[in-house]
């Protein structure tokens, strides 16, 4: 087996919350991520799914080195992200691209699209100054936008166009890994379909490794070959997309699937209550409060992510049974 491009070794991320007031100043701990294990192989397409507040964005920010891990290690190749030297940092910046959830906000409003796209090219000296124009035209063409947009400002593009520009900028540096946070949320279905097709074609053609955050299991299944389900800061189930869709093993994954709106099934509120606050997590399984399968043992011991079968990992004491 080849060496993974990213590995997360029991990564934790805690935030200290200061209580208001003078008395009782002992800070409380918010565990945004708690014991995350993940291996990402070259060419993988992985979707991170989970309810809002489950820690998806935090996880990706850690993988990008935007935030340090409070505990555990994030490895890029074999190097710890926290210990990269200047040269390695530069290489990382070129090889790993990020597409922000807020695509418009991630672009300088006073720069033209041409300058925005040219910035990474100039920065990494990917081509001669004279060849940049040609390169920009090719980039726009690749994401299906007319070259006329190059002279516009970000505020002058529609929601679908600006997301394509964000994709184009991610591609500009010819990265090996693309990470994207909710890149199709809030788009009209027809525009969403265009952007999804674009991303899928890009991954298939150039073998880019993709980490895609979404709260939409449909989008995850369309785009990615693997899915990792997060709940309250931990990956609770992980495996190939088809297997997860057909036979979810974690009760939370099953509930997410049941709540997904479908033409052929009636509405079903599969889960009661809301995701609790990650402050002062209870003892035992973090899902126990909402889990329909919970038993006494679940409130005692906290299940870690363990191998369920050859390709699936589940963090549950009583995984959902069912035919493969």
């Amino acid at each position: 087996m080849q060496e993974p491009i990213f590995s997360l070794l029991d990564v934790e991320r805690t935030y200290e919350l200061r209580r208001p007031g003078w008395l009782n100043r002992a800070p409380r701990q918010l565990k945004a991520l708690d014991g995350v294990r993940l291996d990402l192989q070259r060419g993988d397409t992985l979707a991170l799914v989970g309810e809002s507040g489950s820690g998806k964005s935090t996880l990706i920010r850690l993988m990008l080195g935007l935030e340090p891990a409070s505990d555990g290690r994030v490895l890029y190749g074999q190097r710890d992200l926290a210990q990269l030297d200047a040269e390695e940092k530069k290489r990382f910046a070129r090889e790993v691209a990020f597409i922000y959830q807020n695509a418009r906000g991630s672009m300088n409003p006073r720069m033209r699209i041409a300058d925005i796209l040219a910035e990474p090219i100039r920065l990494h000296r990917l081509c001669a100054e004279s060849a940049i124009a040609e390169r920009l035209a090719a980039l726009l063409d690749r994401v299906g936008l007319p070259a006329g947009l190059l002279q516009r400002f970000p505020s002058e593009l529609s929601g679908g166009q600006i997301r394509r520009v964000a994709i184009a900028r991610a591609l500009a540096a010819e990265p090996q890994v693309i990470m994207a946070d909710e890149s199709v949320a809030g788009l009209d279905v027809s525009v969403q379909a265009q952007v999804l097709n674009l991303l899928r074609d890009l991954c298939r053609e150039s073998g880019i490794t993709l980490v895609f955050i979404t709260h939409d299991l449909g989008v995850a299944s369309y785009l990615c070959e693997k899915i990792a389900v997060l709940y309250l800061g931990r990956i609770v189930e992980q495996g190939p997309t088809d297997a997860i869709l057909n036979t979810p093993r974690h009760p939370y994954t099953r509930a997410l699937l049941q709540a997904f709106p479908r033409f052929d099934m009636p509405l079903k509120a599969s889960l009661s209550g809301e995701i609790p606050s990650p402050v002062d997590l209870p003892k035992g399984c973090r899902f126990a409060g909402r889990c329909p399968e919970a038993q006494a043992a679940c409130r005692e011991s906290d299940p870690a992510l363990t191998a369920f079968d050859a390709e699936r990992q589940v963090a549950c004491l009583f995984p959902v049974a069912g035919a493969q």
Partner: protein
């Protein structure tokens, strides 16, 4: 009354009374030169739920706002008729509208955070329509507000009466909005994307809640939705809007399972379902309001368009129990 509840929940499609609860006829709305809504016709029977579906800018919210009288002359110009329980709404005075709004017609907006007033407790905000429309005493209002909060699934309602909106999660805020909308037992509930900002798990809870409450009150509801599958799950009827017109309208199972209008088909093939293998986007984009094609507004993007489509606007035809506006229905 009670036995009517039992009847209509079972047979939502059967007309209960002669006159529909809401009757929209050839309704148009202009903002200056731009025709935002163009000849919209709809009828809603008591106890029915209707879903408005279509791309951004299709005019779904505009129609909802016009229905509750928040878009009126001189800001916009209205034509055609909007009848609610036999009353012509387009000619209603603002004072009379205010008696309807929040009382006979309840409202739920997409963004509860923006719709709730951050300066008042949720208890005060739920009590407001009880005071204005029902004239309940202060003590009764508080009691009723607690009951309402309980009925929308807010745990420990008495403790949370005095909470401010920012102290509640998005899902809880949406529940408060629902409690406010249902406070006066409305006959019609308008919900503009009530769950777009929420997770699917919470969305299912909220939608189930709204449906239960609406059925209990034997009210009708209009949902503005962007999720077609959710429309199939929660709506008796579906109206598909494109560029200010209703292109297809009918029972949801037929419209969504076997769409007749090319636009409805296009929309459906863009929907990501669990395990979708291919998505076929609709080419092009919605034309701007000031550059609408003369004939069928969908013609520039329609795979079936022929010469006549660019010249004449198709009239809505009844076909297979629904109205469809297309020259070439097969």
């Amino acid at each position: 009354m009670d036995c009517a509840v039992a009847l209509t929940t079972q047979a939502a499609n059967m007309p209960v009374s002669e006159e529909p609860l809401l009757d929209v006829r050839d309704f148009s709305l202009r903002r200056g030169q731009a025709v935002v809504l163009d000849g919209v016709s709809l009828a809603l029977q008591p106890g029915e739920t209707l879903g408005l579906i279509g791309e951004s800018g299709a005019g779904k919210s505009t129609l909802a706002l016009a229905l509750i009288g928040l878009l009126r002359a001189p800001e916009v110009q209205l034509e055609g008729s909007l009848r609610f329980r036999g009353t012509e709404l387009t000619r209603l005075k603002e004072a009379d509208y205010r008696r309807l709004r929040g009382n006979k017609i309840g409202l739920i907006f997409q963004d509860a955070t923006a719709a709730l007033n951050p300066c008042f407790t949720v208890g005060q905000q739920i009590a407001e329509p009880l005071k204005r429309h029902l004239g309940l005493s202060k003590w009764d209002r508080r009691e009723r507000a607690a009951e309402l909060m309980h009925s929308v699934g807010i745990p420990e309602p008495r403790l949370r009466l005095d909470a401010y909106p920012h102290e509640l999660s998005g899902g809880m805020q949406q529940r408060v909005m629902i409690a406010i909308a249902l406070a006066c037992n409305p006959e019609l509930l308008l919900a503009d994307e009530p769950t777009s900002a929420l997770d699917v798990t919470i969305q299912a809870q909220i939608m189930e809640l709204i449906l239960d409450r609406v059925r209990e009150l034997n009210s009708s509801a209009i949902f503005v939705l962007h999720d077609l599958a959710l429309g199939a799950q929660v709506c008796d009827r579906i109206a598909v809007m494109y560029a200010g017109q209703i292109v297809e309208e009918g029972p949801s199972e037929r419209v969504l399972a076997a769409p007749l209008h090319p636009y409805t088909r296009g929309l459906k093939s863009c929907v990501v379902e669990l395990g979708s293998r291919t998505l076929v986007p609709i080419p092009g984009q919605v034309p701007p309001l000031d550059a609408m094609p003369a004939g069928c507004r969908f013609a520039p993007r329609c795979p079936k368009a022929k010469a006549i489509c660019g010249e004449q606007r198709p009239r809505a035809e009844i076909r297979d129990g629904r109205q469809v506006a297309c020259w070439f229905i097969d």
